[in-house]
Symmetry: C2
Subunit: 308 residues, 2 copies
């Protein structure tokens, strides 16, 4: 079993003398390593792998937030819908959007129709859902500028409106969602992944139902469009980076399957990590930062435990 | 004169049917284009160009926030200090750090010492400064989670503590700063540029004094380090992407000089853009987003008006 830790820790230091920095970090009173039971193995049915020419991107989807979108995504993947399509709209600091890239799959003039692809009708929006029972939700622990309450569920950044009893996935770097037309019920096949500063204004206005577990750096290498021209669509199709293949871990033989684990956000280990981040003890901080965390700036530990 | 607009607008839409999206955007009551006097031409002495193998990155520095660091940076550039060095610590979602990459320039065992490079003693920190007079500062217009007040000065995102009469540059994507050791007064030669979600906890704890005007997508292509190993330093020097050349626009012949303009953040055009962003009228929004802006999510228009 390959054991590659991908904690995505984002140490807050940016030093000239990194040798002494390493010492400083080991000397800090960091939280203890999480025990085995603090890790949740990602359900292979929810583990989407996107092969790009730069490397593989692993996305965990959250079907409980958008059951119809999750089912559609799995069906599209199993139909090899995305294989050979492209990231055709990539706006630096914003999103990488993939799929057909011309019209919607539901329009009559779908250019791929002629190629015998099944048509995929638009889905009803799944912008939010009834809030999960309390134990599943771990509050961030401070106010959020955009929502009444924010926190984590199964590692996903989540916002809630307790008065309305609704909750939804937050747009952070790495958030996976389906694109749509102006009408809310028009998502069909196109997806996007956030690659820049959290565009929180999209929260609860698009169906977000996943997050990148690893491979963000490969998305960052994607060829960009010009945001001032055709809203970032790369006109020259030959310049678009291909989606070489999109597949589900559950469709691979067990012995060759990618397996990821995510730190349980309801665990004591995660609570300790939140606390350590809120009140850093590293001597690097000349000024202690305000004890306020950004829901999109808190890393949730991920590790890859096996794979081909 | 080449006229290339680089507005970095980040349209908030992520559509399947981008053709109709384009229509939707033109139909929206967007603010009028800024008049010529709303643009400020960047002082060529403050325009730093970083040549990477992926493309050129343009950074505007703000000497008024950190006069000694700005003077040091200019001196280093003019001594060709950075040319041929590398981005040796690149952490996805966090920072790209460039310079020598081994020890500090001020340590006795400086490996470049033997090559005849001048030694550069550590600088006194310039984490903040006395607040500029009111007209220079344009408030964002809503509360910020991390600082008493935030807004813009000359296009730079700035935080202020009115009680203390101090202000400082904010860590947003694209912020340029000098790295340091644990002691606050240790920055010497190494720089970093934020390439991920705003690490606001670094605000006022490092000397930030610039921002990227264009070329973020080239920084995003840089080879990454593993954040869990040596705090993201790329051990294999052959894998580090080189800083091919770093130069100042003012050192180029006038006819071959890069020239950028930044929308004046004290202009009516910028106020209108803020308002339009706070209250978007696009029919795309099924739900109007909360009228709250993220200081690091507001684009400040930049355009390149000439260059080689």
């Amino acid at each position: 079993m390959v054991m590659v830790s991908r904690k995505i820790t984002h140490w807050p230091l940016a030093l000239t003398f990194w040798a002494s920095f390493a010492l400083a970090v080991s000397a800090a009173d960091g939280p203890a390593p999480p025990p085995p039971e603090a890790w949740r193995t990602v359900d292979p049915q929810n583990l989407v792998l996107i092969d790009t020419k730069y490397g593989q991107v692993a996305v965990e989807i959250a079907p409980e937030f958008a059951p119809n979108h999750a089912a559609r995504l799995r069906a599209l993947i199993r139909a090899h819908f995305y294989d050979g399509l492209s990231f055709y709209r990539v706006i630096d600091g914003f999103v990488a959007q993939g799929g057909i890239g011309e019209g919607t799959a539901s329009t009559k003039d779908h250019p791929l129709e002629a190629k015998g692809l099944t048509r995929w009708p638009p889905l009803k929006a799944e912008f939010d859902r009834a809030s999960a029972p309390a134990p599943a939700f771990t509050p961030l622990g401070n106010a959020d500028p955009m929502a009444p309450e924010v926190g984590f569920e199964d590692g996903f950044p989540v916002a809630r409106d307790p008065a309305a009893g609704r909750e939804w996935l937050i747009h952070c770097p790495g958030t996976f969602a389906f694109a749509r037309d102006n009408d809310p019920d028009t998502a069909a096949t196109e997806f996007y992944i956030v690659i820049g500063q959290s565009p929180r204004r999209l929260d609860r206005d698009l169906t977000a139902f996943g997050r990148v577990l690893s491979g963000m750096q490969y998305l960052q290498k994607l060829e960009r469009g010009d945001p001032d021209v055709d809203s970032g669509v790369i006109a020259d199709a030959s310049k678009r980076d291909p989606i070489i293949r999109m597949h589900l871990a559950s469709d691979e033989p067990v012995t060759e399957r990618e397996t990821f684990q995510v730190l349980r956000t309801e665990s004591k280990s995660f609570a300790d990590a939140l606390e350590a981040r809120r009140h850093p003890t590293s001597p690097f901080y000349f000024r202690k930062p305000p004890p306020v965390l950004d829901i999109c700036g808190v890393p949730v530990q991920v590790r890859r435990v096996s794979g081909p």
